[in-house]
Symmetry: C2
Subunit: 446 residues, 2 copies
């Protein structure tokens, strides 16, 4: 057989167990909180028709992975790049069957053909929670409360959910005095404030390729996005003053006032979130509240959990206008961040107990013991490898971080006992077979 | 905005919550059992280099979904079609870091460009458990015990794990008298015994395009694959008699004898599995024990959980020969089967309690109540939709199958009570706010 290099495509990666054990725990925690907030699971196809994903906008195509069609399908296909567009497509396709408000979550892979750089990947796992079919600000507040609850449940203390409203930003042309059509390049530039300094963003705002603004407009924008007061209420009052008489901004402010009240009732403390007029979010489909979550200890990592209201997306797929709001947590970026914060405990195994297999006359007894432990809900196994001696098998247990090891030779078998070795405490003792499960539970509970 | 049809590509599907809630429970059960047997999670990339997947065999390509490369990657890429080849690739790529035996599971999507027919899809979810780096028959027996445990835990009683050994089948040319090279078309034909009658398979065995066997050889094969005795032991004795002196078959029989002994010790009853010399498994990479799981009540659905030993696959990716054995459960096929067996309880929501929102003066109190219930681990929400009247909101609760509804108007608010409505029992009572969580837990526990 010709040898083939065991290489992954650029920008793709594996999670080996030592990373995947804590990553799976992270995903399970996110799912648990989502369900506690009343979101039910949905699973959509990972491959979509390309026009469904792009909305016909050819600009998008660069970032999307094309998939070769197979017999029986004449359409251009692609891998999805987020979970929001497939949700909108699924809602439109099942408009009768799905009762609204439709609260769903989905955890799934998405793909983006971005340039692979250090720490930048092309395949991501996202977990999204969305409420489709609710115009009420209760829905916006629920999503913010959900984001707060997820961060708390993950044990992350230093985070801030930054909230803004697209309607307020849509008042910028009138406020700062520039042409309405320039709002898109302005928002794209502002969205880079995470990563670029104000001067760099200002340069983009002024450049011919950007929004081509004059110094005065840029100065007013700088002042506006810099508004930050002690409380959400005060920040909103300041924005209100600045944008008085601009209808869109006034509506945005009123919406955020309502959101502010609701999130407080939903138990989100003032320290966990803030109104921040500099939040822009890149995607063009947002229409109202927008939010992102930054880690105060890791300002450069960007947002780990973000989203907003997109009241016009479902309309793309049919005549009906259906409002929606939701947020997405990027599991890979969050995992990398939590690793940096020392919140990830790597673990190579899920096994609690491994029986060594050093004396063939004991193999059958040990298989019975392992089976017995499993029926007691203890994660157990018999060493199945090809090494025969004690030292090699113990060394395997050490390097895979198995916490408890069982040893049985002929003397133990005759006495109906097993040697239980606690690998962490470096202690061992003889335990009667029938007391084994209780003994192990005791060691594991400590 | 131009309207785009909300259509999926042919052969792809969504799982809406009513299907996804029980499907997610199924997946979680499989994962839990896998972990109890000492398998740790692994997550590999869903996109691979095409030559990694095909092993250079162009025959494969027809069934594989090609993926367009993006800048920075010059290789031909494809979506994976199973989880076994990516595992072998990942082991070869991490040969130093991964300690063997390596017991991993992976739950992930795979894609096959098969013709979409009724109930046939092109995107599947598979959960695989494999032991890499163990030549011992303990590993084979562990996989069979794991399959049995998963089926039990899912509440499926009518199933049979059918076990064979490729080495026994490799003795067929000598036993039945045909050229060795014909073993591949013979196995491909035998693999169809699930779906075709013996006469149809015999026709294929005799045909020019198949193995081109004569009547005598086909008769001997028929006799051989028909061997079925009351116990695994007796079946093996019969096979042993038939294949006496054929080295490969004798080795296969000896391996299965060992497996038979181990699975009994691992608590697998004789009723749950059988040695069956007609089991062939299509894939060419199997080298030893092979197994599949059929549902006795649904003979036409084929195998839902199958696999085998593949001692040469990792070698494809480097000089090292590393033995491996594992099995894969096709979640979609299993889910469809369990639905037919009445074992799937469809459920549209995970919410336990929904507060109606009919009196705006109570919204803030209800948000507080919902928050409180969530901190008590009760899955709760406030109705976030745009309907204002009681009847419409109750009808929403009925159609989404929410079991408990809370109602508060001004009178209840003043009395610090909530009306708790049990939607299943059609009862309702006033409950003091501070007794609410306990009350709900009581209703849910019944």
């Amino acid at each position: 057989m010709a040898h083939i290099e065991p290489k992954l495509p650029g920008g793709f990666r594996d999670y080996l167990p030592e990373d995947m054990v804590p990553r799976q725990a992270l995903i399970d925690t996110v799912r648990r909180v989502f369900e506690r907030y009343g979101f039910a699971p949905l699973d959509t196809a990972n491959v979509e028709r390309t026009d469904v994903l792009t909305g016909g906008d050819p600009h998008f195509k660069k970032q999307i992975y094309g998939v070769a069609s197979q017999g029986g399908d004449e359409n251009e296909l692609s891998l999805r790049f987020d979970l929001t567009v497939p949700l909108a497509r699924a809602v439109a396709a099942n408009i009768i069957g799905i009762k609204r408000p439709f609260k769903r979550y989905e955890c799934g892979k998405v793909w983006r053909g971005e340039r692979p750089q250090a720490g930048r990947y092309r395949e991501f796992l996202q977990c999204d929670a969305d409420i489709v079919g609710a115009r009420s600000r209760i829905a916006d507040a629920e999503i913010i409360a959900l984001m707060n609850a997820v961060m708390n449940e993950l044990g992350i203390s230093g985070f801030l959910i930054r909230v803004n409203n697209r309607k307020i930003l849509n008042g910028l042309p009138e406020y700062a005095g520039f042409d309405t059509w320039k709002i898109e390049p302005v928002l794209r530039a502002l969205d880079k404030l995470d990563k670029l300094s104000w001067d760099e963003v200002a340069k983009e705002l002024k450049s011919e390729k950007g929004a081509f603004l004059d110094d005065e407009a840029v100065g007013k924008i700088k002042h506006f996005v810099g508004v930050k007061k002690h409380s959400a209420k005060e920040t909103l009052e300041e924005i209100e003053k600045l944008t008085k008489g601009i209808a869109s901004a006034e509506q945005g402010v009123n919406e955020l006032k309502e959101v502010t009240e609701y999130v407080a009732r939903l138990g989100v403390p003032e320290t966990a979130w803030a109104i921040d007029p500099s939040v822009a979010r890149g995607l063009s489909y947002y229409t109202g509240t927008i939010f992102e979550t930054v880690l105060t200890g890791l300002p450069n990592i960007g947002s780990v959990f973000s989203g907003g209201r997109y009241d016009n997306l479902v309309e793309r797929f049919g005549g009906m206008s259906i409002p929606a709001v939701g947020a997405s947590v990027g599991i890979d970026r969050l995992f990398a961040a939590m690793e940096q914060l020392g919140l990830i405990k790597r673990k190579k195994t899920v096994t609690e107990v491994m029986a060594l297999n050093i004396d063939e006359s004991c193999t059958r007894d040990l298989l019975e013991i392992v089976h017995e432990l499993r029926t007691q809900n203890i994660r157990a196994e018999l060493y199945a490898g090809d090494e025969r001696n004690l030292k090699a098998q113990l060394s395997y247990a050490v390097s895979t971080e198995i916490p408890i090891v069982l040893i049985m030779g002929s003397p133990e078998r005759e006495k109906k006992v097993v040697i239980v070795k606690d690998m962490e405490k470096r202690t061992q003792e003889e335990v009667k077979r029938k007391e084994l499960a209780a003994k192990i539970r005791g060691l594991r509970a400590v």
